[in-house]
Amino acid sequence: MPGKVVIIQPIEPTLAVRLYLPLLSGMALTFRKFVANVFTPKTRPTIEYPEQRRDYSDRYRGRHILKAREDGTLKCVACYMCATACPADCIEIVAGEHPNLAYEKYPTVFEIDLLRCVMCGFCVDACPKDAIWMTKDYEMSYFSRQEAVRGIPELTEKPSDTGADGPGYGYRPYYGASPAKKAGQFEPSGLSLLPMTLARNAAINRVPPPPPKPPAPAPAPAAKPAA
């Protein structure tokens, strides 16, 4: 499709423009804004920050919390998925053996360095146990660098995180990604797990371009079998 290119004509300096008259409409605009802001404070675009706060969505990526099971133990099983997925390398985990055999593994150390964290939410996406969420808390300022490294006591979810005065839950695992579920036909069988067609397989494992000369096909790289 050929591009439709529109040529903008330069603004003619008419007599009105040369007499600076359009400035009056600009002044009228600012005056209107001024009057509106003085007499209808509710429509002001600005807020008085510490007293008034902006309302963020339930996806807000703020300070992290570690979710707990009903018996109060952490859901985390120290699988290192979040630490691996973290692009900023800010999660430090040391695993230990849990006295309760059903839980097997638990983190003895779980630290997030909030000064390194880029708040991308990849740890939440990566967690296979629904153990780490984020809150809407965006006020993360500390008096020392050491304080910004949050350990298990600080990270564990507290009533003050989610109560009426707390920031509330923010970014959490996303359940809507399953296309089948959206269409109302989600089936927990193994069949829906391999939607890759042969054609797509071929495209993914396609042969790399051969070196310039001679044009002999190079061997395919060791294609990673999916599961």
Partner: protein
Amino acid sequence: MSATLSASSDVSFAPLIERKFPDGSVHLERRPASDVPTVVSTPAASVEAARFLRDDPAAAYDLLLDLVAVDRLKLDGPPSFRGDERFQLNALLYSTKRNEHLRLRVALPASDPRLPSLIEIWPAADWFEREAWDLMGIRFDGHPNLARLLTHNGFVGHALRKDYEAGQRWLCTDEDVLQTKLAARSDLPEDVFETMTLNFGPSHPSTHGTLRIVLRVDGERIVAAESECGYLHRCFEKMSETHTYTQVIPYTDRLNYCSPMINGNGYARAVEQMLGIEIPARAKAVRVVLSEFSRIMDHMVCIGANLVDLGGLTTFWYSYQAREEIYSLLEACCGARLTSSYARIGGLSMDVPDNFVEWCRKLVKSVTTHIQEVDTLLTKNRIVQKRMSGTGVVTKEQAIAWGFTGPCLRASGVGYDVRKDKPYDGYDEVDFDVPVTTAGDNYSRYLVRMEEMRQSLRIIEQVIARLPGGPVVSDDYRVVLPPKEMVYNEMEGLIFHFKNVFEGIQVPAGEIYSYTEGANGELGYSIVSDGSGRPYRVKVRPPCFPLFAAFEKIIIGGMVSDAVATLGTLNIIAGELDR
């Protein structure tokens, strides 16, 4: 996307190359159809090949987009990679007359890689060659000033070489701080009035970032200038090599931080092209809507901040109001106002909120009002016109030679817009115009941006009117994380999940140049993959880079205050300039 290798058939001038270079020193390379056509040249024949590609009417590659240097030391291949073909220099070209991209590739040996400078063919090569020298250690014979660009003068080694160990620290001592040659040059006019050297930046309010320009001024008039960048270099490209493909996404948000969505989308698109996957229609539509909103934000920031530099603070408030409202929509979609990280390889991280369409409609209305307000304040304002008309003029020929793209190229009279000329993500299904002016001055760049914002709103209206349903992310679980139900309840889902997180997306070995229309021009990603879960080399083509490289040439002869206006309308974003 077809995986077949195609060669000469897609390049119309293939027979001409064979006739002109019968010895085979310049020839076509077979590439996957998704990548741009590639011409390979020997170092000795490179200038001749470049001249042929620029001047031959059948080729006419007049715009140099990018120079991508690749160190193939650790890439699987013949032993020659470690010997006589270790480095590759890829010049990415675009023909404004034929609307075609091309890659000109030169292989260089491991010891003392050097080739003749391309600066006389494409003046835009100036800074790109300095960057290739700085980060990859490739010498360009005949370059007038082959100094380091992104790293400082006390830096030892070339950071993007594969045998350079990341994490080394080099001290920048007082002697290493760039003493511009300008201050010592004797050929500058000293006769009429005393000229003086003026240091402008790196932390000056009107540089909007950390840029440094050293000016030689005769009174208020600039007689010579030299600009310097690199103060915000955060090793994006080196970092990408140690992260998985998905982990690079948060870093792309920090390139052009005025329109972070567009960077993430461009990057994800590049990787998707390498994988050969098609993303769902809904993901494409949402990407388009949010990219266009980001474009509006970027232009609003550009105009608002520019007017602050010119002394008009009012516009800034009104234009930033539009930005704040758009940020709220972005936050509702992805959970952060600026650092969106919304794109994923294969789609988006999550579906848009339920009230997305109504919200967009409301936003289109209010943004229209804000654009109208800015228009009322500025367009016919004689003071603005007098400050901006006729200053910072870039002619059509200059804009092409200096490698401009985006609004700055269109303001100079070339109607190249990737969204129109190489449509992607369904841009060919929407009706919009590409505004162009011919004057090429600051005022034209302002007019082009104003009209582009209106066109962006038109695109958004059309896309949300028929926003497709369905998933927002591909269902290929080797690329995207499986849905949580599967991860929590099923073995297979968990396996996919683990492999995806621990090994990363296995992108087939190969190379691509993928381009989208960023807010400032063509945003290109050159990615080389070695078949593992981490990119072997990522090179961004930041649209600002050629703009700022040309800045020192544009402002010569003008006033210092006009230089400030020009810097504003070029819209230099230090984040993507320095990477």
